[in-house]
Symmetry: C2
Subunit: 359 residues, 2 copies
């Protein structure tokens, strides 16, 4: 866990120790508490985990359950992206892919989704139908069934068109046993492709920034890429995560904290498209903090790293995968960007919410 941590729905280990002391003392909830960074972590670890009885020392993207011998993963996520559509995707497509990806990076093949809608009265049929079609199409591409759900309507002005919550269930691949506790010094950090496309695309789609580009959201199911890694290097897979809200930096900081070791990032190896790099420079943002909706990080044992990388690169959509870092013993709990000539900078988690409601 924490289950409520990231853009991803998240998880609890099945056996947990209640820790009922609520330590969350912020006076009110602000946008930053939903941004997936430090404030979200404070809320989840300080309020939800103590009350819901989990120890909070494990972070994953889906709950693992054993039901009558079947190994099941389950996850849930709410989507409140603004605007509802943007180049390369829309809220409906995100709602399917986001939940599919949470299952995928927990090593579970997605099976079925439930979709629950909160609709603002006055939403046009065209918009709802367009998003339902986007969901159906995304589900078909991802090979999952949308098996049920719920519809609620709130008064005009009490929502922002449409919020969608998806819950997903998957079958955990028996060949994979990953989690922060499996990570060892020397393990390699793999990244499936270029970062920041989604966050910057949504930012530009809002029109608040006077920039235009051909950038498109990277929203997609990462299951084919995850499956390729599992097929070729299952025994070496130690940890996986889709770096959504808070980006790669936040995901790796959470990992570093959970393992009590360091993650070194080879920043020059991290694929970033020019428009993302340009927008980040103009806006003072770090691509490592920008949300992704179609990428994942994998920590793989050193001896399996080349196999896993080859598996990614030979799978459609994984051509730009790269080894972008490694696990080191020191400094404990942090992420360091390591330059080729030995200079290093600390890469922190996302603080505040520079890009609200990107998923």
């Amino acid at each position: 866990m924490p289950p409520f941590e990231r853009g991803a729905a998240s998880v609890l280990p099945i056996e947990t120790t209640p820790a009922s002391v609520v330590r969350f003392t912020d006076a009110q909830i602000d946008m930053a508490h939903g941004a997936g960074g430090k404030a979200t972590r404070r809320l989840v670890e300080g309020l939800f985990l103590p009350l819901f009885g989990s120890s909070g020392d494990v972070l994953t993207d889906a709950v693992a359950l054993d039901v009558d011998g079947a190994r099941i993963a389950m996850t849930a996520d709410s989507f409140v992206v603004r605007p509802l559509t943007f180049p390369g995707g829309s809220i409906g497509e995100l709602a399917v892919n986001g939940t599919v990806n949470d299952l995928a990076v927990s090593g579970a093949k997605p099976i079925a989704l439930l979709a629950s809608f909160v609709i603002e009265a006055g939403l046009s049929r065209e918009t709802l139908e367009r998003e339902a079609r986007a969901m159906a199409d995304a589900a078909a591409r991802a090979g999952v069934r949308i098996a049920g759900g719920d519809t609620k309507v709130v008064e005009h002005g009490k929502a922002d068109g449409l919020y969608i919550t998806t819950a997903g269930i998957g079958r955990s691949d028996p060949r994979v046993s990953c989690g922060a506790s499996s990570v060892r010094p020397g393990d390699r950090v793999l990244l499936s492709g270029p970062i920041g496309d989604h966050g910057i695309t949504v930012l530009l789609a809002r029109g608040d920034v006077d920039l235009s580009s051909e950038l498109r959201s990277d929203t997609r199911s990462v299951w084919p890429l995850v499956a390729a890694v599992i097929d070729q290097a299952a025994a070496g897979v130690r940890w996986m995560r889709d770096p959504t809200r808070g980006g790669v930096a936040t995901a790796l900081n959470e990992l570093a904290r959970d393992i009590g070791m360091s993650v070194a990032i080879f920043e020059e190896a991290v694929p970033v498209r020019d428009p993302v790099r340009g927008a980040c420079e103009l806006l003072g943002l770090d691509p490592l903090h920008i949300a992704n909706e179609g990428q994942f990080l994998a920590v793989v044992a050193r001896e399996y790293a080349d196999l896993a990388l080859a598996a990614l690169r030979t799978t459609p959509g994984g051509e730009q995968a790269a080894i972008v870092g490694e696990i080191r013993e020191q400094p404990r709990g942090g992420v360091l960007s390591v330059a080729p000539y030995g200079a290093a900078r600390i890469v922190d988690m996302l603080v505040g919410d520079p890009l609200p409601r990107i998923c």
Copy 2:
């Protein structure tokens, strides 16, 4: 299904035939589309079912899945009740009990929940903590774990304090095989207790109506009652449903339509507390249309009806259970209220939305 039908999250059969013709033609979404009655059904059957590929001829409250031999039920529901608290309950408690109950009436013992929050920026910590505690307490009472979830925050004015979506997973009881297709003429309709408490309580809590009463929401887990019926009369259980949005009338109309037979209600046998009856008379509402959050309907084979009733009445909270109707062959697809002296009136589904956002 339809999966999106009622206050309950709902369901799809595992094998479905796509019917891709969208027949929903309403120009926009209105409050009535979220009320659980005719408009909701039109939306679900006309838009979601065709696009999501289900046949729409089965209505249940949870999706049934077979994963590696394990029989699993899964459900999801969004909660947008206004106000957030009311006598006898609150949104957090509803969010747990509502999903627990959808599993229960599908014959599945609830195991775990995921909770996904959409929070309006500016919500006080006190409110969020109060609702998280209400969820933790309700989960403890219901014997389920809140195992994970998600947190999103939207700008002030873009939600109504707090919306909560819960997804639940349960283990289907192997002794039960219920569904509309199992229902036969002569089967009895059982009701677990008095109706309308929840809907009228929430209505009065809004202060729009100049009435006061000691009424409290009936929100609770119905699993102990369902389990008692299963333990004593599993072989006779044909169909179960929690009559939330749209009330008993809507649930039974859906049943009547699905089975192509008639449901006769013995209205004088339906338990209704005096304050509910009084409020309904004043407001021109039918108690049969008022939402419940702690009751369920069961259709039970005639020869098991007394056993099932005794099981309910001897379980705490089921003392006022009653046999309130029976299945008849004619008239097809409708619900009739049958008076002791032979008079009858047609009881329709809920039309419009007299009580918006009661769950």
